[in-house]
Assembly symmetry: C2
């Protein structure tokens, strides 16, 4: 396969995967494009490569910066801004985990805590089932939370090395 073709396929696949996980397809595609670019790109280049509008490129790049996956660079003599993507996959995975934890896990745990305080008749099956389900989900969420905390502090090696042996 040619590089040009492979690039297109990678961008397409990454975009699809992103959209399956609730991430805007274009954002995932811009991320893919920058990940495989050795050099930082300008907004113009991103627009041209992916055939997207200026507004879209700008907003998407800002979102990627908010996710900690892309950084703005300035080149001396150049007036334009350049965008460069983090390329270490372990760092990428950690940043994504960190953001989703903050944006989604923490809020849902807060709600589950509130719902755990529901009042009702201990003999009512509807009450019992509700309470048990919410409590169990809360426990699981807290375990995921703790595991992520550990993971976020850990070294790359944690995942690529020893961890797997523990479960053999």
């Amino acid at each position: 396969m040619e590089l040009a073709e492979a690039k297109l396929k990678f961008i397409e696949a990454w975009g699809k995967l992103g959209s399956e996980w609730g991430i805007n397809r274009t954002m995932a595609q811009v991320h893919a494009l920058l990940m495989i670019s050795p050099e930082a790109l300008t907004t113009e280049e991103v627009m041209a490569e992916l055939s997207i509008s200026r507004g879209n490129a700008n907003m998407t790049l800002r979102d990627l910066i908010d996710w900690g996956l892309v950084e703005k660079q300035h080149k001396t003599g150049e007036r334009k801004e350049f965008f460069y993507a983090e390329k270490d996959v372990w760092t990428i995975a950690r940043r994504v985990a960190e953001e989703r934890k903050k944006r989604e896990l923490t809020p849902i745990i807060k709600i589950l805590d509130q719902l755990g305080a529901v009042e009702g008749d201990a003999k009512d099956p509807a009450y019992k089932t509700f309470k048990t389900t919410v409590t169990d989900i809360n426990k699981l969420a807290n375990n995921v939370n703790k595991t992520l905390d550990t993971m976020l502090k850990a070294e790359e090696n944690w995942f690529f090395g020893s961890i797997l042996k523990v479960f053999k």
Copy 2:
């Protein structure tokens, strides 16, 4: 908080979480409703509780069955079908992991394998960056794959018990 209010909040929160993770909001809500129902519900009941159409309820319930999260039940003397949700959170987590692995992880690994075979000049930075990025993502994906395999075979205890101590 009253049970009725708590139920609504739970259904709403579960629907929101689902949509953030690429799962149709209504599907997540139907799942939430069934998880907190001690008894299996009919299509009619699901329609009424969530104010959704028959077609929507039917398709959503079928999807939940495909995900292995809900089962159809038949009651003697009753002609209607009843729907009952798995309530063990560890089983739910496993089923979801299993399905997403099959639907998303396996396909992307296949593509990454193909892209790893890209031909090019070993001195071209564009080629090098592409190759490195794709290879690294492939390695990570394979590690996630292996970890999931282990997890899927493991006991509930794996997650709720010992595992966390390993990382202390």
